[in-house]
């Protein structure tokens, strides 16, 4: 420990000599709550007129370097009135009583471009997320821990195992073609959540709606999440914090499988069958399926009801982190390192992650300050689990396992050497188009991902005058991703002769900006103005090479490709955007505030005539409680209204027609008809809100109503293929989102020992496609290729799903064919619902008793429909428990073609193989209500009391138990978690297809501060 401290200290010293020359004295002190005499944790202590700052620790103590002579300390903390305390020239310690300011009038939030504003002056809705909530929940991707905590924020996860993609949408989907996802800003520079270390986050603030984010221009039309990371602070010694946690992720099978019938068809056991319509399992001796000549030729039929549990395992994640913070008057530094490793529920899905963060802040002169940061992220992952109709998706193979085949047997019999000494897959239907031995896929179809990310940020702020400053900042963000995909020879269909893909991509984002800030007051009038500019330069390079057949078996290198079986795709995409912007807030007596912003972007992705585009916003805030005398129990009453425009530019390279070079030097014609008059998409948003606090802010509530219209959508319209193009780009359409958001924060009980606090978030978004194309009332958003199509349809909400369904007569009866089996529509023409939720909400409760705290979060995602392609398959193939009924014959409730009542007996096999299956399933039968309510998070924590630690060097210690996704309170989807989807692509939301199963996780978290 001493050695580490020494090394770190040396590092800091080397970084800036100014640390050495700091001539200071140190004031030690403690901040306590004047009402209940408890320690105030996290209060900020600054020296008036200077830049030194300190933050109180878990025992309320602080230590701050101050210049010689008399000084004044300023102590501020959320929920308390800021207090100035004079310190005598010889005084070295002080105890400060802070009195509670339940009005929270001065809560400061970080808004667009890093401009700090008091929360109550804002004319739009923002919501902060408690950082302790984020670190305690211990999600490896921070985005996951936002579910249920912010009104109107929807998180959808893809099913890939550890490190999966996450899609964050605020206030509904707006863009048909382009992203609807929120912009993430970390310390003023665009970034992402996936590479962020949760322990580094100091604050997180969600700006909803485009008025909040108008200053960010085209990137922020879908809202912004602003994250500020930790800085070092001036202290008497280095503050060191350790965090260690273990998480166990347990798979839960929500599906019922039948365990009575073997593989086969028509009640007959067939050893080479991939469907389970075979014989009733009675312990009979049958031919063994194994094609390995060394194996037994017969076997005894029995069922294996534990196949699911035998295949999946408990995922384990270990997180260990350290952070060190400290500094002198001139320079402060923060360093953190976190290591995460573990495995997913398929035990060879492993990952290892390192996060480094080093930040140095300080003052060069009284007027010039700097802030620099470097973060490094490295993640190696093996064997991401695939999702969907991918033959190498191990979920797909295990879910399609007939019950008479046991996991233990296939695990030890998945491969053998044939007479030619070739490694051969052992599977019951050799050469199957779609089937593989699950263990062959697990071990012989492997993938590997290595992701590196370096972020650098440096800024200088010069204060010309106390109220005039200039910030100049540069940010660099570089991602390097390498991945490999290796499949052994004899992987049916997708790699008969082996397969090898290697993909490298590098993306660099350079962001230079400046911001000039000025504020002044003239009598009752105040003005705060900012003007700035930004140059954004992105370049992405990627190279992907595929050897689709290999010469030497199972040697994975590109030189091993068979002749003509090597193909590459590469891309180089540069993009520039320059911007100028300004904002001004005018206030009268701080209770009536008018804000205006304007921004002009020049984007290289637009055609020349459209390079430049401008977006304004305006908003008005009235703090009624400061204007007129209201009853005493009203602490705050605020009204706000705003209107804003933002726009989105298209992706690069859309304005010209190209001929592409195909592998081997062929030339092919573009299938997209370009339009050289493309305009940016424009989102116009209006927002009205009211916020109030009652009973000394024991009750806080907010209500927002918003309406956004996104017009000039950049749509690649499907054109008649005979026209020469499959698609063309046009500006068209109008997608409207209207919605309300309600937040409520209540502290019903607050005594010195016990506090109960709860919060409620509710957001209802109503989406409607007002207009679409000049030529067609609908637009395809995507689909899974087999079962569903997802469309935007005029007059309907975004994301309407269509599939095949039952042919019905005018009275709605199912029509059966001559054989008694229901008729299925030929095309995907049956409407099966919309995938987007009607409302989302969260209910959080926190109980604190002395050193214990218990919190839990229930989240709800209500409405919307989801289809299961998995169910279509396992029902069609006779694996599902629901296929037991009618095996010996039943009559479908329906009518014959002539209208008479159906009286033809069919078997469950005839029925389900028609309704389900892979190629032409009737999605109508496999679509469910996606509403679900779950216990998303449960945290029980205990902080070891100061008295117990007083003789140690430990300043604070806490231990917490966490549980995530513990159980569903309601889940209408049959056998799966409706929030796990194949992909976060907007056309695939609403389709579950061989996704990883539902998992619950349990964790133990230990935190030590020195």
């Amino acid at each position: 420990m001493h050695k580490l401290k020494f090394l770190l200290t040396c590092f800091l010293l080397l970084f800036s000599l100014s640390f050495l020359f700091a001539q200071t004295r140190t004031i030690k002190g403690k901040v306590i709550n004047s009402t209940d005499k408890t320690d105030v944790v996290g209060a900020t202590v600054t020296v008036k007129g200077k830049s030194q700052a300190a933050v109180t620790g878990t025992d309320g103590s602080f230590s701050i370097s101050v210049p010689p002579g008399k000084v004044t300390l300023i102590i501020s903390s959320v929920g308390f009135t800021t207090q100035e305390v004079p310190i005598g020239a010889d005084q070295t310690d002080v105890t400060i009583d802070l009195s509670g300011n339940t009005q929270q009038l001065n809560e400061v939030v970080v808004t667009a471009l890093g401009i700090q504003k008091t929360k109550k002056s804002l004319n739009y809705s923002t919501q902060s997320v408690e950082t302790k909530d984020i670190t305690k929940a211990r999600e490896t991707n921070v985005a996951n821990s936002l579910s249920g905590k912010v009104a109107g924020l929807d998180v959808v996860r893809s099913s890939q195992g550890v490190g999966s993609n996450v899609r964050i949408v605020l206030r509904g989907d707006r863009s048909i073609k382009l992203s609807s996802e929120a912009l993430i800003i970390i310390d003023g520079v665009p970034g992402d959540m996936g590479t962020l270390n949760p322990d580094d986050i100091a604050s997180m603030n969600v700006l909803k709606g485009s008025s909040a984010s108008a200053l960010y221009g085209s990137d922020a039309a879908n809202g912004v999440i602003i994250i500020t990371t930790k800085k070092g602070f001036t202290g008497r010694s280095l503050a060191v914090s350790f965090n260690s946690s273990f998480q166990a992720e347990t798979p839960k099978n929500l599906r019922g499988f039948q365990n009575e019938y073997s593989q086969g068809s028509s009640g007959q056991y067939l050893s080479n069958s991939e469907i389970a319509w075979g014989a009733k399992i009675t312990g009979q001796t049958v031919r063994n399926w194994s094609i390995d000549p060394a194996d037994d030729t017969t076997t005894v039929l029995k069922s294996h009801p534990n196949n699911f549990n035998d295949f999946y395992t408990t995922g384990k994640t270990f997180t260990n982190g350290i952070s060190v913070s400290g500094g002198g008057e001139k320079v402060q530094a923060f360093f953190s390192y976190t290591n995460i490793y573990g495995n997913g529920i398929v035990d060879n899905n492993k990952f290892l992650r390192h996060n480094f963060n080093f930040r140095v802040t300080g003052n060069i002169t009284d007027k010039l300050s700097f802030d620099t940061k470097v973060t490094y992220f490295d993640q190696k992952a093996d064997n991401y689990v695939r999702a969907g109709e991918d033959f190498a998706n191990v979920n797909r193979q295990i879910l399609r396992l007939p019950t008479n085949i046991g996991v233990d047997y296939i695990k030890s019999h998945y491969q053998f050497y044939n007479t030619d000494r070739e490694l051969t897959q052992n599977y019951w239907r050799p050469g199957s188009n779609g089937g593989e031995n699950p263990y062959w896929v697990k071990y012989n179809c492997s993938n590997f991902f290595d992701a590196d990310n370096v972020k650098g940020m440096a800024s200088l702020t010069y204060k010309f005058l106390p109220n005039l400053s200039l910030l100049v900042r540069t940010g660099l963000n570089r991602y390097v991703n390498n991945s490999q995909d290796r499949r052994f020879a004899d992987t049916y269909v997708i790699a008969e002769d082996g397969y090898f893909n290697i993909t490298n991509s590098t993306s660099t984002f350079i962001n230079n900006d400046f911001l000039l800030s000025y504020n002044t007051r003239i009598g009752d009038f105040g003005i705060s103005a900012n003007a700035g500019g930004q140059m954004k330069y992105n370049k992405s390079y990627s190279l992907s090479s595929t050897a689709s057949a290999l010469v030497n078996e199972n040697i994975f290198t590109l030189n091993n490709a068979q002749s003509g079986k090597l193909a590459s795709t590469e891309s180089y995409t540069p993009y520039k955007k320059n911007s100028l912007y300004g904002s001004a807030d005018f206030d009268y007596k701080n209770f009536l505030i008018l804000s205006v912003t304007g921004r002009n972007d020049w984007s290289s992705a637009l055609p020349q005539v459209q390079w430049s585009y401008f977006f304004p916003s305006a908003g008005l805030t009235a703090i009624i409680s400061d204007m007129v005398k209201l009853p005493d129990f009203v602490s705050l009453l605020k009204l706000r209204a705003s209107v804003a425009q933002t726009g989105i530019d298209p992706e690069a390279f859309q304005t010209k027609e190209y001929y592409s070079i195909t592998p081997g030097g062929g030339i092919s014609k573009s299938q997209t008809n370009p339009v050289d008059t493309l305009k940016p998409e424009i989102t116009t948003s209006r927002e009205y809100g009211v916020e109030f606090g009652l009973f000394n802010n024991r009750i806080n509530a907010g209500f927002s109503y918003y309406k956004t219209n996104s017009k000039n959508q950049l749509i690649d319209v499907v054109t008649p293929p005979a026209s020469g193009y499959q698609y063309k780009f046009i500006n068209a359409g109008d997608v409207q989102n209207t919605g309300i958001e309600i937040t409520l924060n209540v502290t019903p009980i607050k005594t010195s020992d016990f506090t109960w606090n709860f919060y409620v978030n509710y957001a209802k978004n109503k989406n409607k496609v007002i207009s679409l194309l000049p030529t067609s009332p609908e637009y395809p958003l995507g689909g899974d290729g087999f079962m569903n199509q997802v469309k935007a349809v005029v007059g309907k909400p975004y994301g309407e799903m269509y599939s095949r369904g039952f042919v019905r007569d005018n009275a709605g009866n199912v029509v059966v064919g001559d054989n008694g089996v229901p008729l299925i529509t030929a095309g995907q023409t049956v409407y099966i619902g919309n995938s987007r939720p009607k409302w989302i909400g969260g209910l959080g409760n926190q109980f604190t008793y002395k050193s214990f705290s218990l919190s839990f979060l229930i989240s709800a995602r209500m409405g919307g429909r989801i289809s299961s392609f998995t169910n279509a398959n396992i029902y069609g193939d006779g694996m599902a428990a629901e296929t037991l009924a009618g095996r010996d014959g039943f009559i479908v409730n329906g009518v014959k073609a002539d209208g008479s009542k159906n009286d033809i007996t069919i078997t469950a096999e005839q029925y389900w193989s028609k309704i389900g299956g892979r190629n032409t399933p009737a999605g109508e039968a496999f679509t469910y209500d996606a509403s679900n309510i779950r216990l998303r998070e449960l945290v029980l924590s205990y902080s070891i009391p100061q008295t117990a630690l007083s003789r140690t060097r430990i300043k604070g210690a806490s231990v917490s138990f966490t549980g995530r996704n513990l159980f569903f309170i309601k889940n209408a989807a049959k056998g799966f978690d409706p929030e796990l989807v194949v992909s976060t692509d907007k056309g695939l939301i609403g389709i579950e297809s061989f996704c990883l199963t539902f998992t619950s996780s349990y964790g133990l978290n230990l935190n030590l501060n020195f």
Binding site: L270, G431, G666, I667, K669, P720, A722, N919
Partner: protein
């Protein structure tokens, strides 16, 4: 002084401002994809023609996607070259899978519109007209559009590549009349230039050899004339006789057969690609006819069944359950020969036109009473058989085969699959016109194996020959188990939304509802 310093410190601000203003200079260049071509150099048309060739036969990718959808899952099954053994595929029971038809249609049109681009860039109105390349492109246009109109009836033709939101369909009659027009013009141009080349190595069929393109052009004109012979006999006769007498001659020698050479990795022999998936086997009709005839081509066409070593076929139209019976299993039945399986698909040429077909067309023309020169119908018929046997390397058996009195045999197996022979015609040329017409059509059907099922299906619908077994099951309410009950494919359902007015024009020109039971214009 103070003022001056402040101004000096503001300099970076003004520097940034002026930088921003000038920074759109490189936008145009930045927003140009350097990995692609904006303007084609004339020479690059050769490579574009390669794409028009393989995509024209619906092969737009190395997975042969379009070929599987429009050939393997449609005409291969309708012409009963193969029977489907993939439980998930309903098309062998006559079901129309809209998604497949959508896919095949747009694959074809990628090729067809690429070809239109080439014609536009070589036509007399182009910047640099190129009559020779244009003529080859026009012959190729007739070749690729013919199976499409024969599958659907009216299709987009004259407006293909118009870049508009609506592409109207042309009637089948208009399309065939245009085939005659463009083939006449193109062969006229080529006949003056047989010593020259066009598209060079970009032509993966003939390497740019114009004398061979000329023969193919003349032969396609004869093919088209035969097709419409029952609908417009007078025009058919004129066109056929002109084609037969045309300069450069017909494609009568197997050495001139049109074979498309794969260009791996983006275009592979499509049959080789799809046969790898084990989704079809020899049809029962093939077994009945070829085994009955003791056809010397059997071992050249078919691999013995893996389990039994016998040549064995499967009835068309099996239900999902029937497909799982071992009698109908892949390993108990004949696949294509190994040269059409995976190992060879990167090098094995894909045959798209054979000399045998020209001879059979000549034979029918002769029976029609048209002037085919000095040949008798029997000579044409036998020459067709000889050309086919030569093509497959079994020419030595031709003398015995053309005089053989063997007839199709029964299809053996358990009920409901077993069935007697449907025809009693032998190989040896018969004495009545009815027998002769059936023999010609039957031998043409055999000669079109394995990759020209589109032509085989069209001729089967036109002539009713060869007599093919009924399907075991039919799932299409507009069809029946009778072979030939499917008269056409339905228009792609995607056209109803994407090209509504175009679709409507197609239905109007079809002369009946958009159903599989509506007969095409040329179909008697």
């Amino acid at each position: 002084m103070k003022r001056y310093i402040t101004g000096f410190k503001l300099l970076p601000v003004f520097a940034i401002l002026s930088l921003l203003a000038s920074c759109t200079r490189d936008f145009e260049d930045l927003n140009t994809d350097k990995t692609k071509i904006v303007n084609l150099a004339p020479k690059q048309l050769d490579k574009l023609f390669t794409t028009a060739e393989y995509a024209g036969i619906t092969n737009t990718d190395q997975w042969a996607g379009g070929y599987q959808l429009l050939v393997s899952l449609a005409s291969d099954e309708q012409a009963q070259f193969f029977s489907c053994t993939q439980a998930a595929f309903p098309s062998d029971r006559n079901e129309m899978v809209g998604r497949w038809i959508n896919g095949g249609w747009s694959s074809f049109l990628q090729g067809a519109t690429t070809l239109t681009e080439i014609i536009n860039q070589t036509s007399p109105s182009a910047v640099s007209p190129d009559p020779l390349r244009e003529a080859v492109a026009q012959i190729w246009k007739a070749y690729i559009f013919m199976p499409m109109t024969d599958a659907f009836g009216p299709i987009p033709y004259s407006e293909v590549g118009n870049g508009q939101d609506v592409v109207k369909y042309d009637s089948q009659e208009d399309i065939y009349m245009d085939f005659f027009k463009i083939l006449t013009a193109a062969t006229g141009v080529l006949s003056q230039n047989t010593d020259k080349k066009a598209f060079a190595t970009g032509d993966i069929i003939y390497g740019g050899d114009l004398s061979k393109w000329l023969k193919l052009g003349n032969s396609l004109r004869l093919r088209a004339a035969i097709r419409v012979s029952k609908k417009i006999p007078d025009i058919a006769k004129t066109q056929a006789e002109a084609a037969i007498a045309a300069a450069g001659g017909l494609l009568l020698n197997s050495a001139d057969n049109a074979n498309m050479t794969p260009t791996p990795p983006n275009y592979l022999n499509p049959l080789g690609v799809i046969s790898e998936w084990g989704e079809f086997r020899m049809s029962a009709s093939m077994e009945s006819i070829m085994k009955g005839y003791q056809d010397p081509r059997i071992p050249m066409y078919w691999a013995p069944a893996k389990n039994t070593g016998a040549f064995k076929g499967i009835r068309n139209g099996l239900s999902i359950l029937q497909m799982s019976e071992s009698f109908n299993g892949n390993d108990n039945n004949s696949n294509v020969v190994p040269r059409f399986q995976n190992a060879a698909n990167a090098t094995e040429p894909h045959t798209i036109y054979v000399a045998a077909e020209t001879w059979f067309n000549m034979a029918e023309a002769k029976l029609n009473g048209w002037n085919v020169g000095s040949y008798t119908a029997k000579q044409c018929y036998e020459n067709g058989i000889r050309a086919s046997l030569d093509q497959w390397g079994v020419g030595g058996s031709a003398d015995a085969y053309v005089t053989s009195t063997n007839t199709p045999q029964a299809f053996a197996g358990p009920a409901p699959y077993n069935i007697g022979p449907l025809s009693t015609i032998p190989v040896a040329f018969g004495s009545t016109e009815d027998v002769q017409r059936e023999q010609i059509a039957t031998q043409k059907w055999l000669s079109l194996y394995p990759s020209m099922s589109g032509e085989a299906w069209a001729e089967f619908r036109r002539t009713g020959f060869p007599k093919l077994y009924p399907r075991i099951n039919n799932d299409n309410p507009d069809a029946s188990v009778d072979a030939g009950s499917v008269k056409r494919l339905i228009f792609p359902p995607s056209e109803i939304t994407v090209n509504a007015d175009g679709y409507q024009s197609g239905v109007e020109k079809l002369g009946g509802p958009d159903k599989t039971s509506t007969k095409l214009w040329w179909n008697p």
